[in-house]
């Protein structure tokens, strides 16, 4: 099999050489550990002290819901399909039902962030996903559900505008018709 290129350590050294190298290397090692015994510990006491996460940290997502247009781009980009969203459209306004991100599956790859046309989904800095029930890991990223008061107002305004427009249109059509009638007459 092998051709030994050099003698093994034990064979090469003499009896007393072995004794000496054992004592020496043990002493060197114990010197290092003894120095560390009195040095400042490197660890932090986790729940009391927390290390700061960095600017680019990829933690639990957050959604700027008022920007989101429910285009499903992030859900399509996700390699494991862990995003599900649902909203009803009222003209320009969205009535949100759900925006679920399943952290049982999510692998924090940030691929959902890039395709977003409105730049509204971000990786946050929260990281503790400790829970006693796995079901709770299927999180809803929505800050509110359904319609907000402002949205309702805006929808009402839009509807009123629409109605006014419609009325104006109808009125115009009526006028036109009347005019035509008159012309015909």
């Amino acid at each position: 099999m092998a051709t030994p290129t050099s003698l093994p350590e034990t064979a090469r050294r003499s009896y007393w050489g072995n004794v000496w190298s054992t004592i020496k290397s043990t002493a060197v090692g114990m010197g290092i550990t003894f120095r560390y015994l009195w040095s400042k510990p490197f660890t932090v006491q986790y729940p009391d002290e927390k290390l700061t996460t960095d600017e680019r940290y990829r933690g639990i997502h957050y959604l700027e819901q008022d920007l989101c247009i429910c285009c499903n781009a992030c859900a399509k980009a996700c390699p494991i399909d862990c995003i599900e969203m649902e909203a009803t459209r009222h003209g320009k306004e969205l009535e949100w039902h759900q925006f679920d991100l399943d952290y049982q599956k999510c692998m924090f790859c940030e691929l959902c962030v890039y395709p977003c046309p409105k730049d509204c989904i971000h990786m946050g800095k929260e990281y503790a996903l400790v829970t006693e029930d796995r079901g709770t890991l299927n999180m809803d990223l929505l800050t509110w559900q359904g319609l907000t008061e402002e949205q309702k107002v805006r929808i009402a305004e839009a509807e009123a505008k629409k109605a006014a427009k419609k009325a104006a249109k109808e009125a115009a059509a009526k006028k036109k018709a009347e005019q035509e009638n008159r012309e015909e007459a």
């Binding site: 009896y15 114990m30 550990t33």
Partner: protein, 386 residues
Amino acid sequence: MKPLTIIASALPEAPVSEAAAPQGNGLTEMLAGWLPESVPFWGLTLMASGLAFGVIMAFVSVVAMFSTWLERKVAGHIQIRLGPMRVGGWHGWAQAIADGVKLLIKEDIILASADRPLFKLAPALVLGTAISTFVVLPFAPGVMIADVHLGIFFVIAISSVTTIGVIMAGWGSNNKWSVYGAMREAAQVASYEIPLGLSLMPPVIYYGSFSLLEATQAQSGWFGMHWYILDPSVMLVSVPSFVLFFVATLAETKRAPFDLPESESELVAGFHTEYSGIRFSFFFMEEYAAMFVMSAIATVLWFGGWNFLGLAALEGIPVLYTTACMLVFIVKSMLLVFVMMWVRWTLPRLRIDQVMILGYKYLTPLCLIVVFAASLLEYLRFVLSN
């Protein structure tokens, strides 16, 4: 001064030092004073034994608890961690108590396929032997359960009974890893008995006695600093013999780098893989008790026992003197225990054949050389002094 020997009569076979064991003295006499005269002598002896056992057991528990805590703190700080910090507030001082309570209330699992009598008996045997070695330790003047004349011999003999307990545990567990651990323990302890016994010979030759009490008393000179290891006339022998004893001790107490019976990265946990709850804690306590006993023997034989610089000045105040002596003794022993821990967290583990090589090829011949040198030195001293 005469030591207060408590249950010398409980060990009828053991040769009792004449100077130090007046019959019916100590605890038996104390009990006789309290109890009605109708209580027979054997009853008193039994009660005294029970009391002594209680005291030792309590002491062992406290030592084991403190040692586990210390071990974790030492390991932590060597590894730039903190170790336990939560339970009890200051540096997790109550961690060991919490662990003890946890182990007590944990389910005691006995495998269906285990050999039940062996499995159950093993932890008791292991802890029992560890405790009985405490009998001969001279903690302070007068605080010693029995001054066995062959005290050193007694400790070596009793402490190797642990091996039988470990083999029982390994075999009874019906687990191949456990059997491996047990067999390693058997091979290792049997081999290291020789260097252990031989390395104890230089101090024995020096003191001319096997008695631990006499060894301590012999070192009381020089204002309490006439320790064997500090005596310049024998330093050439005392230092090497201590190093050899220490290495053999590590192997005897299954401490790293000789922790093969329970090497966690090869044998999972070796012979106590299948133990849980209180039975596991027995093995745990045994390890620390054995460490303490071995360190205490080293303290007595090399580091002057309870003697310390200027301690004799307190002799006038008995209670203070005894307490101080005890404190000195325990602190010295714990320092050696600390060194054992320090070694453990520094060195890798040996392989079983290397353990054997170290024992037979290195330690035994070196011990023989040291014993020979010690004898020669003693003869020279004898010739010179006459």
